[in-house]
Amino acid sequence: MNMQTTSRLTAAETALVEAFGAQIGELPGNGAVIGTRDRLLDELKKAGLPTRRIEAWHYTDLKNLLRSVPDVTLVSAIDPIAPLVEGSKVLSILQGEADAKAAVGGVEIALFKDRLADGSAAAGLTALDKDDAIGRINGSFVRDGYAITVPANTELDAPIELQALHAAGQVHTRFPVSFGAASKATIIERHRSVAEGAALVSSISDIVLEDGADITWIILQQQAAEDTHLGQIRVKLGTDAKLRLFVINAGGKLVRQELRIDVAGEGAELTLRGVNLLGAESHTDVTLVLGHNVPNTNSTEIIRNVVFDRANGVFQGMIRVAPDAQKTDAKMSCNTLLLTDDGGFSAKPELEIFADDVVCGHGATVADIESSHLFYLMARGVPENKARAMLVNAFVAEIVEELEEEKLVEALEGVISAWLEKHA
């Protein structure tokens, strides 16, 4: 019998394969890196982009949603912009290319393209599992980024801003960051389109927190209305490490942010907060895979979503508690303000608990603005539009205020209110 084993490639899949072919010999990397790239592209070609039949992609059928892929453009006529928080040290990546002169006092910084060239990046380029389309795309195409090491016992007095700016085209970046024992820092990973025209962006941050590191990591995604953003953060938390991870989506047409977190040291603590501002015809997916893999760790996850227009959002929150991870304390919630009849939000919390002495919980709500709150504000003379905007803003500002650092809170509240003014 003659079975057809290769499915037909979609336009986007074909474009990816062709883009790879066109860049052979141009993408940085030694033999090991090239071998890895070839293998990843080959896997991508065979498996195709994931469809809804793949459980991890059930709500984001990438094969169907990613209709086209723009050509690779390497010209960069982009200038860095002011940092989100005044006084931050800016490491800019313009159209996927890092700045060879970038430096931050007390911190070791290398260009990721040099890591590709000497092959030291090869081992990290792999996909995390057979459904890791982002790992495959990024590993195949990544050109540059920054490899950052914050030495042990170092406290950075200003945030580092990874400023990834791009125009139309394709951009694939990578940020391996290692935080030494007892180091303390704030990193702002900022993705932003600065021109018209569709872009495909993939970006992976591989971060390791050594014992006792205390880190705030902000991902701020402000891509343009036609952009696809495929983000992934791979995190490993050491003993007594503390990570506050804030993910803010305020742009893009097709967005997937994967958070793959390994809580690997006792006493470690994760605080995950997400704000999804969804408008127009966008599709935005935040997918968390969190492993509590040792005893005595805790985490809280709060995701707040605001849905306008014909936008759709997804939150998948998988928490796995390993068999010997006793005394795990994990609490997850996902709250959505649905301000339209034409949009939607899907929340899929999942707990897989293999230990018996743990406290784990999750909850999800979907609601419209509380009419009594609206009446209260209007009864004081605040017009309906403005009152609604205040209440929507309040719903997400509450989350951002947890950051406590005043300048950062102010800057993020500014981003949120500017977005709401434009979309509400």
Partner: protein, 251 residues
Amino acid sequence: MLEIKNLHARIAEDGTEIIRGLNLTVKAGEIAAIMGPNGSGKSTLSYILSGRQDYEVTEGDILYNGESILELDPAERASKGIFLAFQYPLEIPGVATMQFLKVAMNEQRKARGEAELTTPDFIRRVKEAAEKLKIDQAMLRRPLNVGFSGGEKKRAEILQMALLEPKLCILDETDSGLDIDALKIVADGVNALKSPDRATIVITHYQRLLDYIVPDTVHVLYKGQIIRSGDKALALELEENGYADIIGEAA
């Protein structure tokens, strides 16, 4: 200032009629007390006056300075000078009290064609008004009403009233949940606003508040109608004999 004519109103959701042919006139400078047993329609009346959409007016009219306000939304009514001090002020997490006060004051000014307040001017006004009501600055730094005690919430309502300088003040059970000291502070705040061009409607269950905010007229509301009107003496009579006699007469 306020003329309610043969007003009929029902709950929008289920059509239950609450106000059944209510007539009431309140003149500028007047303090009118509305009293009545539970379920007589007192709070509903306050909501209808301020424009809450959960109620539908099916008959009659509400004239404010000679003009019908039925078509105006709550914000438009507020900017024309109608203020409701809520029986249960709402907690609104994420909305900073100071920001809320500033937006409310400036939106009302904008609607009336007045210039917005400068920040120093705004802060000075809030500080002065807060001091008079013994409101702590720390309270003003919290989100709106969040974590306030019952008494603090009522004082915050009167603070808003003092800052917004309305022409028609409606106090819905402002005395409920207040101890005697808090009651005096709130009453002083209300009395300080008394002026010949301002009217106040005091909705209450008990005579107690009326010892401190002395009414010019007293009206008894029962089953959605004013069944008796009088002066201050009527409140004392109710205090002594309860509502039963008057309700009996009306029936």
